[in-house]
C-alpha cells in the first residue's frame, strides 16, 4: 500500500468530498503530500544528525577521558546548532582553478543519494513514504549516487588531496557495496521479498523471531553487512577517504561553510540509513513484542496513532543501539591501511557473503521450518546472542569502574560526573 497516496486520498475525501480517482485536480494534492513527506524526512534527518554529532563527541570524550562539548545548552546538547549555524555563516569559498559548476553541485549529489534512501525506509507500521516492492534493491542502487558526488567533489576541487580522497572513496564504496549487497541478498532469499515492510512482516516482535536468530548464516550475514556498511559510510576503521594523517581531509578538503555541512549531513544521515537497514533486515524492524501486525493495522483513531508512535519508538530504540555501537567502534579501533582495506573486502567479506547465501539456501532446503533441528539452532543462536550482549555490557561497566577507581585514587574525590549522566 502506498501510504502517502492513501493519506492524500483520505484527505481529499474528507476536505473536498470528492472521489480522488476521478477528480481532475487530485495531482496537486498528491504533489503537496509528496512534498510534505519529503520535508518531514529532511526534518527527521536534521533533527537526528545534529544531536548524534553531539552524542558522538561526548562518547569520544568519555573514551578519551575528556568531557566533550558541555557549554552550549544543558550538557552541550545544542552544540550541533552552534556548529551548523556557524558553518552557514562562513564564507562559501570556491578555490581558484576549480570547476565551479561541478564543485558547487557535488554536495547535492552526495546528499541526494543519501536522502533518496529515506523514500523506502520504514519508521513504523505505516510510517513509510513508499513501500516499493524492490525496496532493498532501490536502497542499494540509490546510495550509489554518493560515489558520483564524492568523485565529482574530488575532481572539481583541483587539489591533489581532494582527488586522492575522491578516488579512494570511490574504490572503497564500490568494493564494499558487493559484500553489503550479498549479505542483504541472504535476507531477501530468506524473507522471499525485497520490500522493506515485507521483510519486517516476515519477522516477529520477540528476539527469537528476528532474522538475526533464525538462521546461523543470517547471523553471520548481519556482521558482514554491518562491517561493509561501516566501510560504505566512510567511518573509522574504514575512514580512509578522510584520513587526516595522509590526505588532510579527503574529498572535502576544499569545501567550506555550507557545502561542507552538506557532506557531514550526508555522513550522519548515512549512519541512520545503515542502522535502519540492519534493524529492518535482521532485528525485527518496528515489530512490537507481543503485538501482531494485524492487530495494529486493525486499530482506528487514537489507538492507531498510539500504535504508530510505539512502533516508531521500538524501531528508533533498535537503530539507536546500533548507532551507539558504531560510534564506540569509531573511537576504539585504529584506521586500516588502504591495501588492508581492499584485502579485507575482496579476500574475506566477499567470499564469506557468498558462503552466507549458499548456507541460507542449503538450510532452507534441508532444515524444516519449526522442526527439531531448526529449534535447536535458533535456541543456540539466541543464547549466544544474549551472552554477547551481556558480555558487551559487562566489559563497558568494568572499564568504567576501573576508570572511576583510578580517578578517585589520583584526585582523592569523586569523578566529575555521576554514572546516570551522559558518558
Amino acid at each position: 500500500m502506498n501510504v502517502v497516496q492513501h493519506a492524500a486520498d483520505r484527505f481529499m475525501r474528507w476536505a473536498f468530498s470528492v472521489d480522488p480517482a476521478t477528480w481532475p485536480h487530485a495531482w496537486i494534492v498528491y504533489a503537496g503530500f509528496i512534498l510534505l513527506a519529503a520535508v518531514l524526512a529532511v526534518g527527521f534527518v536534521a533533527l537526528f544528525a545534529g544531536p548524534v554529532t553531539w552524542l558522538e563527541r561526548r562518547v569520544a570524550g568519555r573514551i578519551m577521558s575528556r568531557i566533550g562539548p558541555n557549554r552550549v545548552g544543558p550538557q552541550g546538547v545544542l552544540q550541533w546548532l552552534a556548529d551548523g549555524i556557524k558553518c552557514f555563516l562562513k564564507e562559501d569559498l570556491v578555490p581558484e582553478g576549480a570547476d565551479r559548476t561541478l564543485f558547487r553541485i557535488a554536495p547535492y549529489f552526495v546528499f541526494g543519494g543519501m536522502f533518496g534512501a529515506f523514500v523506502v525506509l520504514p519508521f513504523g507500521v505505516h510510517l513509510v513514504a513508499a513501500d516499493l516492492n524492490v525496496g532493498l534493491l532501490y536502497i542499494l542502487a540509490v546510495t550509489s549516487l554518493v560515489v558520483v558526488g564524492l568523485l565529482m567533489a574530488g575532481w572539481a576541487s583541483n587539489s591533489k588531496w581532494a582527488l586522492f580522497g575522491g578516488v579512494r572513496s570511490a574504490a572503497q564504496l564500490v568494493s564494499y557495496e558487493i559484500p553489503s549487497a550479498f549479505s542483504l541478498m541472504a535476507v531477501i532469499l530468506f524473507a522471499g521479498t525485497m520490500s522493506m515492510q515485507g521483510v519486517v512482516a516476515a519477522q516477529g516482535g520477540w528476539p527469537w523471531d528476528w532474522f538475526l536468530f533464525r538462521n546461523p548464516f543470517l547471523f553471520a550475514a548481519f556482521f558482514l553487512y554491518f562491517t561493509a556498511a561501516i566501510a560504505e559510510g566512510n567511518r573509522t576503521p574504514f575512514d580512509l577517504p578522510e584520513a587526516e594523517s595522509e590526505l588532510v581531509a579527503g574529498y572535502n578538503v576544499e569545501y567550506s561553510g555550507m557545502r561542507y555541512l552538506f557532506f557531514m549531513f550526508a555522513e550522519w544521515a548515512n549512519l541512520w540509513i545503515m542502522s535502519a537497514v540492519a534493524t529492518v533486515c535482521f532485528l525485527g524492524g518496528w515489530q512490537i513484542p507481543g503485538v501482531s501486525p494485524a492487530e495494529v493495522a486493525a486499530a482506528e483513531g487514537l489507538a492507531f496513532v498510539g500504535w504508530q508512535a510505539l512502533s516508531f519508538l521500538v524501531f528508533a530504540a533498535k537503530a539507536s543501539a546500533l548507532i551507539l555501537v558504531v560510534v564506540q567502534l569509531r573511537w576504539t579501533v585504529p584506521r586500516l591501511r588502504i591495501d588492508q582495506l581492499m584485502f579485507t573486502c575482496w579476500k574475506y567479506l566477499v567470499p564469506l557473503s557468498f558462503v552466507c547465501i549458499l548456507g541460507v539456501l542449503a538450510l532452507m532446503v534441508v532444515v524444516r521450518e519449526g522442526g527439531t533441528v531448526d529449534m535447536i539452532l535458533r535456541a543456540a543462536l539466541l543464547i549466544f546472542g544474549f551472552w554477547a550482549v551481556v558480555e558487551y555490557a559487562r566489559r563497558i561497566r568494568r572499564t568504567y569502574l576501573a576508570d572511576k577507581a583510578l580517578y578517585e585514587r589520583m584526585e582523592g574525590k569523586a569523578m566529575w560526573y555521576p554514572p546516570y549522566r551522559m558518558p
Binding site: 563527541r57 570524550g61 578519551m64 577521558s65 575528556r66 568531557i67 566533550g68 562539548p69 558541555n70 557549554r71 552550549v72 552541550g76 552544540q79 546548532l81 552552534a82 556548529d83 549555524i85 556557524k86 555563516l89 562562513k90 564564507e91 562559501d92 569559498l93 587526516e244 588532510v248 581531509a249 572535502n252 578538503v253 576544499e254 569545501y255 567550506s256 561553510g257 561542507y260
Partner: protein
C-alpha cells in the same frame, strides 16, 4: 565605588543578587539581539587549524587532551584551512615558512581569526636575532590575540580561547564579513 553601591555585585545591600540593568530600546535593538545570538553560536564553535611549527605545537596538542579539554567550548581541530575559523600560529616562523603561513591564512574562509601563540610568534622570542626568523607573525598576518609564554601552558591557551570568545562576542558579523571589524 564601593561594593554596596554597585548593583552588579552581590552584597548585603542587594541580597537578591546582581540586578540586571535593562537596556535602553533603540532602533538597532533587534539587530543587536540577532548579532548576540549569531555571536553566541560562532564563539561556541571555533574550529582551529592543525598547524604547528615548534614546541608550542606540543602544548597545542595537550590542550585538546583530557586536562584542558578544548572540546568543552566546542573548539575542535580541522585539518583543512577551508573549514577552520582560527589559525593558531604555534611556534617559530622562519622566512621560508612565512609564505606558507600567509597562504594558509589566505585559504581560510571568512570570518577568520589568528592567535599568535608563544614568544616566537609574538616577537621572534629566543630566536629574534637569527638570520631566518620572522620577528612576530603580525608582520605577515593580522593577529587578533597575542598569547605570551615560552611555550604557553595548556591552561594559558585555554584562556586565550575564552578571550577570543569575548572578542567575538563584541563583533558584528555582517561588518566582520566585509572586513570592517
Amino acid at each position: 565605588m564601593s561594593d554596596a553601591a554597585d548593583p552588579l555585585v552581590k552584597s548585603p545591600a542587594n541580597a537578591d543578587g546582581p540586578r540586571v540593568i535593562e537596556a535602553e530600546v533603540y532602533p538597532g535593538a533587534i539587530a543587536t539581539r540577532l548579532d548576540h545570538a549569531i555571536n553566541w553560536f560562532r564563539e561556541s564553535s571555533i574550529w582551529y587549524l592543525l598547524f604547528a611549527t615548534a614546541c608550542c605545537g606540543i602544548e597545542l596538542m595537550q590542550t585538546g587532551g583530557p586536562r584542558t579539554d578544548l572540546d568543552r567550548f566546542g573548539a575542535v581541530f580541522r585539518a583543512s584551512p577551508r573549514q577552520s575559523d582560527l589559525l593558531l600560529v604555534a611556534g617559530t616562523i622562519t622566512y621560508k615558512m612565512a609564505d606558507r603561513v600567509r597562504l594558509l591564512w589566505a585559504q581560510m574562509a571568512d570570518p577568520k581569526y589568528v592567535v599568535a601563540m608563544g614568544s616566537c610568534a609574538n616577537c621572534g622570542g629566543l630566536f629574534q636575532r637569527s638570520y631566518s626568523v620572522v620577528c612576530g607573525v603580525d608582520k605577515i598576518v593580522p593577529v587578533d590575540l597575542y598569547l605570551p609564554g615560552c611555550p604557553p601552558r595548556p591552561e594559558a591557551l585555554n584562556e586565550a580561547i575564552l578571550r577570543l570568545q569575548e572578542k567575538m562576542h563584541g563583533e558584528r558579523w555582517a561588518a566582520k564579513m566585509k572586513g570592517q571589524a
